[in-house]
Subunit: 299 residues, 2 copies
């Protein structure tokens, strides 16, 4: 399981997901930008879709970069100089309809010349309006992927996602969470290939899960009040990504390609001072479900 | 020059500025929320204006808080336990018209029970479209305030603003800068009262400067392309405030009142992948002027 195999698998994952999303959207087409790191090594394929039937703005990005390991990582590991290689696929999709959820997915692999390596990633869903059936479908699907590989994964990674996709200053989760994992490395029970297979399985589940949610919700009616709420929720998405998201911060700090990193920003967001929701409304119901620790699985 | 005098002066400054802005707007009226810190000490008066003739969304906030000095500040100063008191006025105004600039102003005072104290603050302007005459008027006005107090202030604080109001990942300044200063304390040449008088003078210049810019530009024609650009620039404003602004970060980290801190967010912002400006356009001209080190003063 060498880095070239992993890189090729991630490139294919990007291709497959773009194909499936274009098919499900029926109009939007991905536009690709190839980029290279200046004075460094490697680059990526940024693929952006916009103004589709279902997708208003989205990105499915692949990158594979290498060079000197950033100081921050070396310091955290108590290591001195080392080269690194990192590859991954990152996705954020902002749908046009407030009835279709925002989704994010990431799978990544990191290795250093000293032999240290790990995988990370996750999928999380941010419905503007939480539909319990969809939430259960989403979490059941993630549990199924996890269960195929290791019995404790879903419970552990679900809790990790609850903690990670959290906006402390709003005391809200970003959405209904999902799974999040980082620094997965080989153990006595799992080889590198085992972990890779899990990560790739997560990646491969993205398209069937999200296209199902697109198809189920894309034709639901909505009005300008729903759109207003969508823009407020997108504002919270911006707050999470710019204030707390470690991937975004790391990318901006290490001089990454800004337009590829900030493809996660919504097409349009609103901020209203002390925006309030009506008692008993769907908006209030959603707000009350933006909490950690909810069990979304089928009972 | 005790803390009560400073607090009273800042309260009056808030009152005066709100009055002047309401007069210049002609329609918008400030709505006040009084708030208190839970389990801590002090509170504030958040005043929000929206849907005015000129101002789309803005806040003029006063606060005076006290308690145990946050660990971060103590560590930075190499001090152990100490109580603190902090008071200030913070303003951000987002006008409706893309032809009227966004403005920000802050004056603040901080003291600790061990006798250490300082003042900080600044004013900076973020035109959606840079008008050189306005920029010169703005910087000349700030230079005049500075010059009344100390000959080196303008040049020093102008450079400080260029460095502070900078968005590294965009390689752009937030706007045309202004003045920024922090940790001003007494020296052999300046008493505490001298510094206080300077800071208050800065605060008092806010209303005449900004209402002049409102009046001059509020009736200029604009179209949807100008509004589009305005929303893109507001997106950059969001990026600066959420990623880099120290006041915002400090507020969110120390459990400040979120709605008062994030009153700085624009009413609506847009993000478009690789948004491009036309060659020779007004948008391109503005982009080319979002640089550090421009001398905006009258030659």
């Amino acid at each position: 399981m060498d880095k070239n195999t992993i890189q090729k698998a991630f490139e294919k994952l990007q291709d497959d997901i773009c194909n499936e999303l274009e098919k499900a959207d029926g109009k939007g087409v991905f536009k690709q930008d190839l980029w290279e790191r200046e004075n460094n090594g490697g680059g990526g394929r940024t693929r952006i879709i916009k103004d589709g039937n279902v997708i208003e703005k989205g990105g499915v990005n692949f990158s594979a970069v290498h060079g000197k390991t950033p100081e921050k990582i070396l310091a955290a590991l108590g290591l001195s100089e080392s080269d690194f290689f990192a590859t991954g696929v990152s996705i954020v999709i902002h749908p046009k309809s407030p009835m279709v959820p925002i989704i994010h997915m990431n799978v990544r692999y990191f290795e250093m010349s000293n032999g240290i390596f790990w995988f990370g990633g996750g999928i999380d869903l941010t419905p503007h309006y939480i539909d319990e059936t969809d939430a259960t479908f989403f979490h059941n699907s993630l549990k199924n992927v996890c269960d195929r590989h290791y019995a404790s994964y879903y419970s552990k990674f679900k809790t990790w996602a609850d903690d990670y996709f959290y906006i402390p200053h709003r005391q809200e989760t970003r959405g209904i969470g999902g799974i999040f994992f980082d620094r997965l490395s080989e153990t006595s029970e799992k080889t590198k290939t085992d972990i890779f297979n899990f990560v790739l399985d997560v990646g491969n589940q993205f398209a069937p899960i999200y296209t199902e949610l697109m198809n189920k919700n894309k034709s639901l009616a909505f009005n300008s009040a729903h759109e207003k709420w969508q823009k407020v929720r997108r504002g919270r998405y911006v707050e999470f990504n710019l204030v707390y998201d470690k991937g975004t911060k790391f990318g901006l700090d290490t001089n990454g390609r800004t337009e590829s990193i900030l493809m996660s920003m919504p097409p349009e967001a609103q901020w209203e001072y002390c925006f309030d929701v009506e008692k008993g409304s769907e908006e209030e119901k959603t707000l009350n479900l933006l909490k950690k620790g909810i069990n979304w699985l089928n009972q």
